[in-house]
């Protein structure tokens, strides 16, 4: 009992924090609450991350339905860090647009709890419930600004897609339960391996894999389940976009990796083929569409869909079930998630700052950014270069750790497609750079003032983007640890 509570401290701390936030919001004056709430939320998140970090070496089941292992703790620490950046960068943005700040923080914290449970879920039902909680909170957050028609439209689209996708996924889970008679991931793997599934039901393997991947592909925004992403990312308040395109997407991949590696290793021939195709489709389609976008927020939305394809490379090339080394594919997934999320959250923070100053986020709004705010322009340049995968930045490390296993597994066609896509992506990132530095903006060059929280958030992201490259060895030990926990080493 006491053991269980210790293992659940990260989740419990976040839940209590969410309740405290609501309480403070209800019982203090608005002016005081405005100052207190971001601080309380951030302290809660830091405590949760520390609680997760402190248990790094633990590897045991909790209450039968959750797993406390390095893989889960890795995602918990990353998620806490990202949500802190979202709160820092988003506070000024949300303060200008809504009175309901307490609700915003509380919903964000509750969504983080859902992420925490999802990444450690070791049981189909817990996994589904956690993902569903995260989805519902995401819909609410997307439509948070009630007066904004675009946000409403985005939320409704997101909701309809999400409901359909999760129903399909649940059907896949039900087939899996019907095949094996258990919802526990490890037991599913054992029963599939033990041949308890009779050969006349073998044809169910395809439906199980395909249907389960629909729901997870939706969360991770893989083509062809991505249609909601550009609309939701563009219409949602930018801080919420930061959350959706990083934390929520990372959760999709964490859950996908756990489900496929722990429960369905015997069906790997099916899901590897499927992920191979999805990866190529996702990268290519999203990148080609992103080329034609005139709105930077929407362009980054498509870019984030494309990056999901790159993350899949790691899963496709997953090998080395039996060696705790880098370049096994799974640690590439973890490294890519880290490098991509730090960079992307920063890029969307810059978009939020521009949106605050200009009111919209078209390419023209970025013209002459260097004159308005050299810091913003420089930060955006670094984030875009990192997204394009140029050293010495986090995006390069990310790409290195997914390309290496792909080449080692001799998927040369996949590697070439991914390389071509990296070049296409660089094309549309550089369009923004050109706007910021070489296209003159409006004649009156006023300097913009950034909110304090926004500055801190941008610095944190910048430091992170460089740190992932310069302390690559340290981060590698973490990702390899986390990946080994998943591969049963």
């Amino acid at each position: 009992m006491a053991q269980m509570i210790i293992r659940l401290t990260p989740e419990l701390v976040l839940m209590v924090t969410a309740f405290v936030v609501i309480g403070v919001d209800l019982y203090t004056r608005r002016r005081i609450a405005r100052r207190l709430l971001p601080g309380i939320s951030i302290v809660g998140l830091i405590l949760a991350a520390v609680a997760a970090m402190a248990q790094w070496t633990v590897r045991e089941p909790v209450a039968g339905t959750l797993a406390a292992d390095a893989f889960a703790f890795y995602f918990k620490v990353v998620a806490a860090g990202l949500v802190i950046v979202v709160i820092l960068a988003g506070t000024a943005y949300m303060q200008q647009r809504t009175r309901f700040l307490g609700e915003f923080y509380a919903l964000l914290l509750a969504a983080t709890v859902a992420v925490y449970i999802a990444v450690s879920a070791n049981d189909l039902i817990t996994l589904y419930l956690a993902l569903e909680t995260l989805s519902i909170l995401s819909y609410v957050l997307t439509g948070f600004l009630r007066g904004d028609r675009r946000a409403n439209e985005a939320a409704v689209k997101y909701f309809l897609y999400g409901a359909a996708a999760s129903a399909v996924m649940l059907y896949g889970f039900s087939l899996l339960y019907g095949l094996t008679g258990t919802t526990q991931l490890e037991e599913i793997a054992q029963r599939l391996l033990a041949g308890e599934v009779t050969s006349e039901l073998n044809w169910l393997a395809w439906p199980v894999v395909v249907l389960s991947l629909v729901g997870l592909g939706f969360k991770a925004s893989l083509v062809p389940f991505h249609q909601w992403a550009p609309d939701a990312y563009e219409g949602a308040p930018t801080p919420v976009t930061m959350f959706l395109s990083t934390v929520s997407k990372a959760t999709g991949f964490a859950v996908m990796a756990r489900l496929l590696v722990i429960a369905l290793p015997t069906l790997s021939q099916y899901w590897l083929a499927l992920l191979y195709a999805l990866s190529i489709l996702t990268m290519t389609l999203a990148n080609v569409i992103a080329l034609r976008q005139e709105n930077v927020k929407r362009m980054l939305a498509y870019s984030s869909v494309a990056h999901a394809g790159f993350i899949l490379l790691g899963l496709v090339a997953i090998t080395g079930l039996g060696s705790a080394q880098p370049f096994t594919g799974l640690d590439g997934v973890l490294m890519y998630v880290l490098g991509y999320t730090i960079t992307n959250v920063g890029a969307f923070a810059v978009v939020a700052a521009v949106e605050d100053a200009r009111g919209s986020t078209t390419l023209d709004d970025f013209a002459g950014l260097i004159h308005h705010s050299p810091f913003l322009a420089a930060a955006m340049l670094i984030f875009l270069l990192s997204l394009a995968g140029i050293p010495p930045l986090a995006g390069f490390v990310a790409k290195l750790f997914v390309f290496a296993p792909v080449i080692r597994s001799q998927y040369y066609v996949l590697a070439v497609v991914a390389l071509v896509n990296a070049v296409i992506a660089a094309g549309y990132y550089l369009r923004v750079v050109k706007q910021m530095f070489f296209v003159p903006g409006d004649a009156a060059t006023s300097t913009w003032r950034l909110a304090r929280g926004m500055e801190v958030a941008l610095w944190a992201c910048l430091i992170g983007v460089f740190a992932v490259f310069f302390f690559m060895n340290g981060f590698t030990t973490w990702t390899v640890d986390a990946a080994s926990a998943m591969l049963g080493l």
Partner: protein, 118 residues
Amino acid sequence: MLNTYAVVGLFAVVAFTFPFITLLMARMLRPRKPNPLKNSTYECGMETIGDTWVQFRAQYYLFALIFVLFDIELIFLFPWAVAYNRLGLFALVEMALFIGMLALALVYAWRKGILEWQ
């Protein structure tokens, strides 16, 4: 395996045909003596005055939401109360936590002025 599903299939067939058979039997057996009073609206309220396709106030939905809160609370309270003696302290604490969280939701609605009719 298939046998088990056959039972389910049989059950489904019975489930779908049963209502039709009972309705058909009722129709054949019952006396039929309509009069205006019998044909009028009953049990579900009054005869409507004017068109029924009017807009309802959206505020009703907030009350409906808060009702759902207590509805679910009740569903969980009943089985707990029935098995109270056997569940012991652990369940008591769990229930207190559960009710506490739902109560917080009510406090929230109250403080935000949702319970006041505008």
